[in-house]
């Protein structure tokens, strides 16, 4: 599904990622944890195709293709989805308009016909139940005036509608109370399948109580310093990130 090999990334001449290697197989859930400033968000952004980052070396291969060469809209159409840490408010564009525009762009790319209004509505009413959102949110402007929890649910709704292959959740759990966290996690869990992979970028172990990862990686100072199974997350929860930092400094 996704192969990141020795990826080095700079922002304004400052190295942020210093050699990341990560392999994600279909159906796997990987959690990337780490302290603030470790480069977690940079990794999510670079996979989604945001500009302002300079790849100095390394490769990213997605389903056998060079991901870094694809413009962001093509990545989305090929099945890469980023749930934003801070979803943007877009006044004047209704949620339902964006969902139609996005879904039909993706369908067109896959050689599928446009969904007609009735089928679309049927589909969307189903998907919105997944994230326990009121249907009136469909007709409101994208994220405008939404609470933190509503914005994150809206991200998961978009994900459910677009049915991506690789879902990257950038700190989706931050700013959520426990009820919203459960809703979001249930939404994600219901989307898990043998051919869909997830990268969960998070600061806290809390999310992983609800979404069970296959692999956990610890990112610190731009490198993956430790990888393991779900138990690594528990260890981090207990001991904090302090011991990781020490490990890194010792290694350096």
């Amino acid at each position: 599904m996704l192969k990141i090999e020795n990826l080095h990334v700079r922002v304004d001449d400052k190295p942020i990622l210093k050699g990341i290697t990560l392999h994600v197989k279909p159906g796997e859930v990987h959690a990337i944890m780490g302290p603030n400033g470790s480069g977690k968000s940079t990794l999510s952004h670079i996979l989604a195709g945001r500009d302002g980052y300079e790849v100095t070396s390394g490769t990213v291969t997605y389903q056998g293709k060079n991901l870094l060469e694809m413009p962001p809209e093509e990545r989305a159409r090929e099945g890469v989805f980023l749930a934003f840490q801070y979803p943007v408010e877009i006044p004047g564009v209704s949620n339902v308009y964006l969902l139609k525009a996005a879904l039909n762009a993706v369908r067109k790319h896959r050689g599928l016909p446009e969904l007609d209004a009735i089928d679309f509505l049927k589909m969307i009413k189903q998907k919105i139940k997944l994230v326990e959102m009121d249907e009136k949110f469909l007709y409101r402007a994208v994220n405008e005036g939404f609470s933190g929890g509503e914005k994150k649910r809206n991200e998961i709704l978009q994900m459910a509608v677009l049915e991506p292959k690789l879902c990257i959740l950038d700190e989706t759990d931050s700013g959520l109370d426990i009820d919203a966290l459960k809703v979001v996690s249930d939404g994600v869990n219901s989307l898990r399948s043998a051919d869909r992979s997830f990268i969960l970028v998070t600061h806290y172990q809390r999310l992983l109580d609800y979404i069970k990862p296959d692999h956990v990686h610890v990112l610190a100072q731009g490198r993956i310093v430790k990888s393991g199974d779900a138990s690594l997350a528990l260890e981090l929860e207990e001991r904090g990130y302090g011991w990781i930092d020490q490990t890194v400094s010792v290694a350096a």
Partner: protein, 437 residues
């Protein structure tokens, strides 16, 4: 220079309406003297600093002497009429009875043309004419007073709530022609009405529209006024709307400007005690279009409220001007005034001059203003693109949304749909699916 206009127009003065009324002749003479002295406004005048209309003097647009426009495409005119309204159609500056629909007006409501009103209701015309222009003067107004060939006359008696809107449809069908009209709107105490003024012209024609509307609202009257400007892409447009508001009256104005090569809008209101005034504006310009919105709100007495929201979208080499002035007079304590203007520049060569002015001469007031000029937010573009939408469509969606928020404020359903069509027709050119809106 204007001498040419005066010379050329001498012969047709006899054809102007109201020749039998000495007071009107005197008024026209006065205005003519003023126009002869000043000519059209010059960029040297502070209020005309950003809009140069000297081209008009070279162009020498001519009023059509004949009252009949034999070549009007009636089917085309019909497409610009709104459903379920009374309509008064002015073709090239003259009333066209066949195209107008004024049957079944409520008793005592007058909706007619100025020429007719000068015959039937000369005293009412005399009372209204110039009453909203007591503090206004510039070359265009003098020109308009001196030479107006017709216009609409609307009088709603006290206490009457008009259940259907009235549409004044200004149509231009001749090249190099001048449509110079004066419209008068008077609402009695507690009366309520909705009025739409639509300006259209045959595509490709160059002509001049000079339309002045005076609105007089008696105590506690309420008017919703819409101006929709979709002139031809080569047209020159000067349109002034001047409202005089008696105590507790309400004036809501929407100024939607899409067409014309050069368009100047003046929307001025003078508020007295406890009045409400809401000015909403949207202007879109591309190519080499120039659009100028000049607003002025006078708070002369206490407890007035004004809310002003203008948005501009400028592409290519288009140029926009927003001059918004609010004056709070010494007596106007407890005034609440807000002005907001946001402009979107879609190209490096597009330009906007935005000049908000608050003059506060009272000490117990709540006033604010804000102006923003910018490009599309890259974060928003990326968000849409990351969902699979291509960059051009994403930009068009955001541009459309920015403009459409002003369209959404239109209270009349049929008009809102129509204006949205104009928006979609003109701007942005691609990417917005009507059936998804």
């Amino acid at each position: 220079m204007n001498a040419q206009y005066i010379e050329r127009y001498e012969s047709l003065v006899d054809a102007l309406p109201g020749q039998h009324l000495p007071w009107l002749n005197a008024l026209r003479q006065l205005a003519l003297g003023s126009f002869a002295a000043s000519g059209f406004p010059s960029p040297r005048e502070e209020e005309w600093k950003y809009t140069n209309v000297t081209a008009l003097e070279k162009k020498l647009f001519q009023p059509l002497v004949s009252a009949v426009s034999e070549s009007v495409d009636t089917a085309w005119v019909e497409t610009h009429k709104l459903a379920d309204t009374w309509s008064l159609v002015l073709v090239d500056g003259r009333f066209n009875a066949e195209l107008s629909e004024l049957a079944d007006l409520p008793a005592n409501v007058v909706v007619t043309n100025i020429s007719e009103a000068l015959q039937q209701h000369p005293e009412q015309v005399k009372n209204l004419l110039g009453s909203a222009l007591t503090h206004e003067s510039h070359g265009f107004l003098a020109f308009n007073t001196a030479y107006f060939s017709d216009g609409a006359f609307i009088a709603i008696p006290a206490g009457l709530v008009l259940d259907k809107p009235v549409q004044i449809l200004h149509v231009s069908t001749h090249s190099e022609a001048l449509a110079n009209t004066r419209s008068l709107v008077g609402l009695g105490a507690n009366a309520q009405a909705k009025l739409i003024e639509t300006f259209v012209g045959v595509a490709g024609l160059s002509y001049l529209t000079a339309a002045v509307s005076e609105i007089c609202l008696a105590e506690n009257a309420g008017l919703e006024h819409y101006k929709v400007q979709v002139e031809s892409e080569k047209a020159y447009h000067f349109g002034g709307v001047y409202a005089s508001q008696a105590d507790s009256s309400r004036f809501i104005q929407h100024n939607l400007s899409f067409g014309g090569l050069l368009a100047r809008h003046e929307i001025h209101a003078e508020l007295t005690k406890g009045c409400d005034c809401e000015l909403n504006g949207l202007f879109l310009a591309k190519g080499r279009q120039h659009v100028d919105s000049h607003t002025l709100i006078h708070h002369t007495e206490p407890y007035g409220t004004s809310r002003e929201t203008y948005r501009g979208v400028l592409a290519d080499r288009a140029r926009g001007v927003f001059q918004g002035r609010i004056v709070v007079h010494p007596k106007a304590q407890k005034t609440s005034a807000e002005m907001n203007n946001r402009n979107l520049l879609l190209s490096e060569d597009a330009e906007i001059d935005a000049k908000p002015q608050l003059e506060i001469l009272a000490d117990d007031v709540k006033c604010s203003h804000g102006v923003a000029v910018g490009q599309l937010d890259p974060e928003s573009v990326f968000y849409l693109v990351s969902r699979g939408v291509d960059t051009e469509t994403a930009k068009n969606m955001l541009t459309f949304a920015f403009a459409n928020e002003m369209v959404e404020k239109i209270g009349l359903d049929s008009l809102r749909g129509r204006v949205q069509e104009h928006l979609l027709d003109l701007f942005p050119q691609t990417g917005i699916r009507r059936d998804w809106l």
